[in-house]
Amino acid sequence: MSPFLDLSRLHKTFPTPKGPLTVVKDFNLPVRKGEFIALIGHSGCGKSTVLSMIAGLSDVTEGGIILAGKEVVAAGPDRGVVFQAPCLLPWLTAFENVMLGVDRVYYTATRLERRQIAEYYLSVVGLAEAMHKRPAELSQGMRQRCGIARAFALSPKMLLLDEPFGMLDNLTKMELQDVLLDLWQRDQKTALIVTHDVDEAIYLADRVVMMTDGPEATVGDILEVKFPRPRNRRQLLEDPAYYEAREYLIHFLNERSHHRPAPVVHATPPPAAKPPGGGLKRFMHAFAAL
């Protein structure tokens, strides 16, 4: 059976003043229906570029994306996107922000039904009391809750989350991870989250896809996370397998992410030799180079 989401030979090239820069090169990833994928890698490696290509917000330079048997060519409400900043429209209330999408997707439903859909998702994420407030009156965490409700309320084929909890404090982050898992389990959605938080990736995902450093970033390795669901954070922390997985991912980020996996097509030049010593010596070295 063909995969639900298929990223094949994905390339992304940006024009720069110094000529074209290939940020993502030959990225291949088949995803099963209902699977939760975490994409990790260093900042700026191109994780978000991959996500925004799937979202249809960024053009694919080469290769293709097939979602549920159809090629992705533009953005659309069949993919719910949760951005890093919640991106709520500040002149609308939380409820109106969710309704904006619901009105688009459920245009055949009655006004009452659409209101109920928005209210349902807002209450599931814990905004039942605050749904008629404007984003400015909500805390950062509540805004992101609203962003999650908006994405789920569209009843999308899949969810795309771009470092959704990156700007939150740890407690709020854990709360929202649970909200997300809860909704994901209820709705049986395929999901892809971009993150650089190793613990988050293990807690949420079925598979953690590790990306090599850009430019020309690609899939470096994939780790299957086999903890049973629904997952319990405490049990997970007591499981030695959790630390093995964690160690594996951190090792990848620290050591292996700098190398493209074999076969190496274009060997990257070795990094320029750094002058030895501390600040003063480096300064003298730079001075001598003048």
Binding site: A55, A75, G76, P77, V81, C87, L89
Partner: protein, 264 residues
């Protein structure tokens, strides 16, 4: 409470001190170099009938101050409305379309610094065919075209400053062009638009005085000019104070409205 009461007292004292200084300078001027300049007391003497009976109508030019201000404000309202109706869409087009901006931005930049005094004759020529209405229409045209620019430019800046994030929300939801315009672009631009609207109103009020002086249409501006010709110099000062005060009130009103949209 105590602190606020104190700042209020200090502010009032400062305001009074400023007023007294200006009055002193005025008295000094009329006593020394400018003997023709009426003193504050003399000014009040000539202005009295206009202030005490603000709605009186004794003749075509001889009317209470509120009536005169009313005539001016009515014309400003019309010209200002016209400026907003024309200026806002032009601003949107300038902000949205690079091509449109390339064609029309240089023209905007050239027309913008032209003085109202230069536009007025052209306005009257344009409306010569309307006969007795030519003066009024010419004045309207002048107000509209002079007051339009801040609205045009601020709207264009606002449209260009719409965060990409908001537009992405529109793309992800696949909103139609009209919906993106009405639900995302216009609300996102409103704060900038209102800054433009406020500046435009200030200019419209500046222009009305010049327009009335030149066309002789009844209002505060022509009152000022007539009283100069009648050698009632006190009323020149009285008119200036009135014009300033009305302009100040208009600006405060607009900034209250602007503030409401800023918080959104």
């Amino acid at each position: 409470m105590h602190a606020t009461a104190r700042t209020f007292l200090v502010n009032t004292a400062c305001l009074l001190a400023g007023l007294l200084l200006c009055l002193g300078f005025w008295i000094l001027l009329s006593a020394t170099v400018a003997k023709e300049l009426p003193t504050p007391a003399a000014t009040w003497e000539v202005a009295k009938p206009y202030v005490l009976e603000p709605l009186a109508k004794r003749g075509e030019q001889d009317q209470g101050i509120l009536r005169l201000v009313g005539y001016s404000l009515a014309l400003v309202a019309k010209g200002y409305a016209l400026a907003l109706l024309v200026g806002t869409p032009i601003g949107f087009l300038l902000g949205l379309s690079k091509g449109f901006a390339r064609v029309f931005d240089p023209i905007v930049q050239i027309l913008r610094p032209v003085s109202p005094l230069a536009w007025l004759p052209l306005g009257m020529v344009l409306f010569l065919s309307t006969g007795s209405q030519a003066l009024e229409n010419g004045a309207l045209f002048t107000i509209a075209i002079c007051a339009m620019w801040p609205t045009v430019l601020n709207t264009a800046v606002g449209v260009r400053a719409i965060p990409q994030d908001y537009l992405n929300v529109g793309r992800v939801l696949k909103l139609s062009r009209t919906q993106t315009l009405l639900k995302i672009m216009v609300p996102a631009t409103l704060p900038y638009m209102f800054t433009g609207f406020r500046l435009s109103l200030g200019i419209a009020w500046l222009v009305i005085v010049a327009a009335e002086m030149l066309t002789g249409r009844t209002g505060v501006g022509s009152f000022l000019w007539n009283e100069y010709n009648n050698a009632n110099y006190g009323n020149i000062i009285f008119s200036i104070l009135t014009i300033g005060l009305i302009g100040f009130v208009l600006d405060r009103l607009m900034s209250v409205v602007e503030g409401r949209f800023k918080t959104v």
